[in-house]
Symmetry: C2
Subunit: 336 residues, 2 copies
């Protein structure tokens, strides 16, 4: 069925997001860089390999436990570069502000971006500010872009994933999504949740230093771990099998999911990533991850199998197994 | 006076825009790249010089004679790279869409971006799409970023401008601003105006090839020729004297300005630039500009004089002369 209007689901990271890219953006903008469909475009310039990425941030509310739209905009773009093996060189930041937006909020957000940049080791080198009349935007939207330098020789890509690869996850899932949901719904929680939003470039550099058999990395943002693994399985044409019991979910996040009837597998994360690597290097990668604050709970959560079908299979805690599809519908609009 | 809220004028390219940068962004984000205050950040990587730039586009209406938000977003960012002497390598595009936005409009816009990319010789290599609920944005906002490779050895910068430099303008001013205004106000014009929106990188490459004494280039976008020259004069600490009669304004643009009581000097352009160069190279630069479709009406409009005051002086047609200040107030919100 032809969709005549943009729906919230087009921004979900799920099925309609993919259709929009496949049916509108790719055919019209058609070029080999965009067609990589990775977190960033990878290109060579004067004998060096670089990556370029961009993301708009429209998160609501703009301030939340563990971060705000500013830190999110810095870490999100740093992480997209890191997933391609890129050391972030510089970021840009473009602000769309609604007339009447409190100056004090803007200052707090810019301050938080500066802090986040320091933590990630990257400068915001250039920017832009547009102001639209009251009612034409909701407070503040930030678009960050980043340029990264890649020195890891093997190509990190969905296309590098091989049968037998292990899948490592660096920590519990769903913290960011649950935090945003809890803020919106006023669930009156006794144990507060905090966004996992963090810069993954430091951890990634350790991993790439430890092994030359890392094949692909992907941060589990919009659509959650479920959506990114289902997407990768489809793109790679390989089956990914995940053990549910190996995927950590904090008690408080599980609680929020139960109240709202949501699967944590589809909740957004902003500091969690899946690493695909040759299984023989799995142990040394795990070891180096455990030494890093953002990888202390890293664990192997699954493996890659070639059975001619690109799909994600979840081996459940109760002993069954089920196929996980790209989510349809929009679970949480404006999650990032 | 401390401003407590964001005003439309903060996005005007005029006085409050400068205050926002000087008092909020620079002190918090503090780094030598941002402090260049050029159209793009220039940096070195592995022995090569690159530039990175970003701009958000919120123009209203999104379709107008001579272009649309899509072509504007491509040319605007290409031009910012060109002003630093950068050959555009790749662009990124991030879309913020309002729920309910017509798919047909999106397709028309993306198609126009692809066309614009082909004309400018650059690919959109990566992107992002966010959707916000109805009412949280006005239709579509696009943020493009770009990375460019600089091979021109002299540093193009406000700081390179010298006493005695000539100022060249490549064509008549105000077409873009007048077009957007005419669309909004329904002036019932007999001679329609068209935006001058165009990619300047081809013309710039010709200029840089012709002379190694180009000192600075700046496209006269938000705030118009008046704002960018007043800003440059201030930053350079030099006096710029412009001859009003040398600055071309189309009859129909002048008509719109008269109806609306607006000075064309402050109307936005999207394909016009000021070139500062050593006066001895002025003739050969003009000659090569005249050979290019976007420079056929290029003319020397003024010169740079050192009298210890950074200001813009206009020698008027009627024989007087007056100082031109950075505009205050917002002439035309959502002009780009």
């Amino acid at each position: 069925m032809r969709v005549e209007q943009i729906l919230l689901e087009h921004g979900s990271g799920g099925l309609l997001s993919h259709e929009l890219v496949a049916e509108t953006f790719l055919p019209l903008l058609k070029n080999p860089y965009l067609e990589q469909l990775e977190d960033a475009a990878v290109f060579d310039s004067v004998g060096q390999r670089y990556c370029l990425t961009t993301d708009s941030y429209v998160v609501h509310p703009i301030f939340f436990p563990g971060g705000d739209i500013g830190s999110l905009a810095v870490y999100g773009t740093v992480n997209d570069l890191a997933m391609c093996g890129g050391k972030p060189l510089f970021l840009s930041a473009a602000f769309i502000l609604e007339e009447g937006f409190p100056m004090q909020h803007l200052e707090r957000i810019v301050h938080s971006m500066a802090e986040a940049g320091r933590r990630a080791g990257v400068s915001i080198a250039t920017g832009d500010t547009k102001v639209v009349p009251k009612g034409a935007a909701d407070g503040i939207f930030i678009t960050t872009s980043g340029i990264g330098l890649i020195s890891y020789a093997p190509r990190l890509s969905v296309r590098s994933i091989r049968q037998g690869d292990s899948v490592i996850l660096n920590g519990p899932i769903g913290d960011h999504g649950a935090t945003i949901l809890a803020q919106r719904e006023d669930l009156g929680l006794s144990t507060p949740v905090r966004s996992d939003s963090a810069p993954l470039n430091g951890l990634v550099m350790k991993i790439l230093h430890a092994s030359d058999q890392v094949h692909c990395m992907r941060d589990a943002t919009r659509g959650g771990l479920g959506a990114i693994l289902a997407e990768i399985a489809q793109q790679a044409g390989l089956e990914i099998i995940i053990e549910e019991k190996a995927v950590l979910v904090r008690e408080e996040v599980r609680g929020i999911c139960e109240i709202l009837g949501i699967d944590p597998l589809f909740l957004a994360n902003e500091g969690r990533m899946a690493v695909f690597c040759a299984s023989e290097d799995c142990e040394k990668i795990l070891q180096c991850m455990h030494d890093h604050p953002l990888g202390q709970q890293a664990a192997v959560i699954g493996k890659v199998r070639d059975n001619k079908r690109g799909r994600l299979i979840l081996d459940t805690i109760i002993g069954g197994s089920r196929e996980v599809d790209l989510p349809t519908g929009e679970l949480v609009p404006r999650i990032c």
